[in-house]
Symmetry: none
Subunit: 203 residues, 4 copies
Amino acid sequence: MTTKKQVVEEFRCRAIRDAALRVVGRKGLEKATVDDIAREAGVAKGTLYLYFRSRDEIIEKTIGAAVDDLLARLQRAADGAGEGPFDEALERVLTAEFAYFDENRDFFRLYFASGEYSEDRRLRQSRRYRLHIDQLVGLIESGRRRGELKSLDSERAAIAIAGAARDLILRRIHEKEPPPPESDARFLSEVLCSGLAARRVEG
Amino acid sequence: MTTKKQVVEEFRCRAIRDAALRVVGRKGLEKATVDDIAREAGVAKGTLYLYFRSRDEIIEKTIGAAVDDLLARLQRAADGAGEGPFDEALERVLTAEFAYFDENRDFFRLYFASGEYSEDRRLRQSRRYRLHIDQLVGLIESGRRRGELKSLDSERAAIAIAGAARDLILRRIHEKEPPPPESDARFLSEVLCSGLAARRVEG
Amino acid sequence: MTTKKQVVEEFRCRAIRDAALRVVGRKGLEKATVDDIAREAGVAKGTLYLYFRSRDEIIEKTIGAAVDDLLARLQRAADGAGEGPFDEALERVLTAEFAYFDENRDFFRLYFASGEYSEDRRLRQSRRYRLHIDQLVGLIESGRRRGELKSLDSERAAIAIAGAARDLILRRIHEKEPPPPESDARFLSEVLCSGLAARRVEG
Amino acid sequence: MTTKKQVVEEFRCRAIRDAALRVVGRKGLEKATVDDIAREAGVAKGTLYLYFRSRDEIIEKTIGAAVDDLLARLQRAADGAGEGPFDEALERVLTAEFAYFDENRDFFRLYFASGEYSEDRRLRQSRRYRLHIDQLVGLIESGRRRGELKSLDSERAAIAIAGAARDLILRRIHEKEPPPPESDARFLSEVLCSGLAARRVEG
DNA sequence: TATGAATGAGAATTCATTCAT
DNA sequence: GATGAATGAATTCTCATTCAT
């Protein structure tokens, strides 16, 4: 059973993480101070330490929860696309990803900031990146099983897709008026599926 | 004429930047202290301030010089590939990029770290990113002029290529025994040129 | 209403200023470090920064508060002397000034130290000096209105009085056994009122 | 005999002191760095240490030489006035003092800065202040011997005169268009000789 | 539980002094 | 003698963490 205590605890934790997300989005990962987060959350500094062991844990869990959230969305997009052809499924997943970043610039900044090197953090975060990659691998594998795709190293392909998407997101963020998410998603999906090369009739 | 003083100055600056590069690679962008850098460079803390105005300037210039170095290498790879077919030129550029990161794990870490969000820093660094993108745009445009490539938004394509390469580099770094640079380069070049989809005879 | 928080804040600020006063008295204006002041105040260094923005602000406010304190005392002395003859009023003001410095050697040192040249500091402090001068001008003007004094440039006179008093204070500080404040006050008051010249019957 | 070496040495020392005087006048006693002084003097930093043992010695000797210079001028003014009546002699000395400061704003700043508290410095400088006071004492005593002045504590009087003059100088410095030196000198001389009080026929 | 004042280790920066050239 | 690059101790300021209320 979930006690009232646990409910309150979870509520507070989320409020703090949300505040941290906003502050990190605004000031960057290392520049976000515990003071900033407490003020943004509307609680006293000491309170943070009732729910988290350290500043690092706040940052860690904030990034973790945000990435989990993104992955869940992408998963839903991929799942819903379960049976359709690969290129449409991919397009849908990418659209979900682009749209998510458009809605969450703060999150985006944090997401990229989280790439900042730190041996410890990277190791702890890499599990999430793996999940993201595994989603894409699953999508590719299922396309291959249906004969839609070439036989290829699906993990390498997944990584390439994730990276290409990431940089397109970066561009979207910097642009005053980014194209609709669907546009970038279709573009990338097409390049990836049919390539850049002009079609030649296969001998 | 280049005076002796200027030579010494440039030499010292480079030594300090090299030290900073190693320290940042080891400890991360924000964790690298002025003490660390001085110790690594084998000079006194005050000496750093003879050549740089502040810690921030050291970091800035270190990243800048390293990225310039990479871009110059990539440019050489692309230039040398001037006349060849697009897929080979792309492969050569990507090989150069992958090889560079293999040789410079420290730099790699710094390069990704430099993605850390900071409005100021990002803006100042973005010029270099643009140069990288422009290189790829040039490559694509020349492929298109020769009729090798479809008509497409070459900037979007360049960004996607850069991102895909970046994440493959990431994987290389994490792997104990990454495949040779040529392998990843050929893989990505092929995916990008001819797409993931199984070949179907058109119409 | 004055909240408890404000009371505590004011109390702490005063304690820090008092500590700063002692340290500056002991070590001089520029030699007084933040560490010194914190130690003297019996608080941690960081605490100072909860109440003051910078070392400079501590010094500034410390001098300012001390001078305000002196001016208030002198004003009380001058006010109390409101109706009496000029020479007695002046004597009372000077006695108050001398006595104040006797009680506050530290302050005295700081007061003179505050003369240290610094365009900014001087300008900010000059308001207080003006108040001091204005007090004396008021005293002189009221003496003139009562026909006790010659018609003269009362501001120049006030400045001369302030300066003369200052240097007598300096001497008091250096002497092992200075004469009672009343003695110097009477001396200066007499010189200023009736002059150094032997009396001649005016033809 | 004065060797060439000594001539060069004295020349260099003076050049450095002059530079120090200007820098201190511009930046204040504690803010004037060895770098500043060397740059102003047009020599290398190390050179300063060939002629002075430390920064402190430079400051010390600079102040000392400047004050000696002033005292010599005042002495000349007082000497020249040897036989005249006291009030005229005093007026001449004060005129010389005011004029000197008008010509040397940098010096003035330094002179006041030198009042900055520092037990050591004060003691070393006090000899010069004594000389200044002794000059005035001499002037007063000679006036008394001629029956021009009341019988009074001539040292106290000398100190009061010095202080009054100092603050009038301060005012001159701050004013855009100070009155001619003679004006302030006459004013102060008159106040001091015949007092502020309206003349009453002595019963 | 919640608070927020206090802490103090740690970071960046300055500058008097030295010393190899 | 003269130089000025190099030094590193000393200084100011920041901020994660604690703890008495």
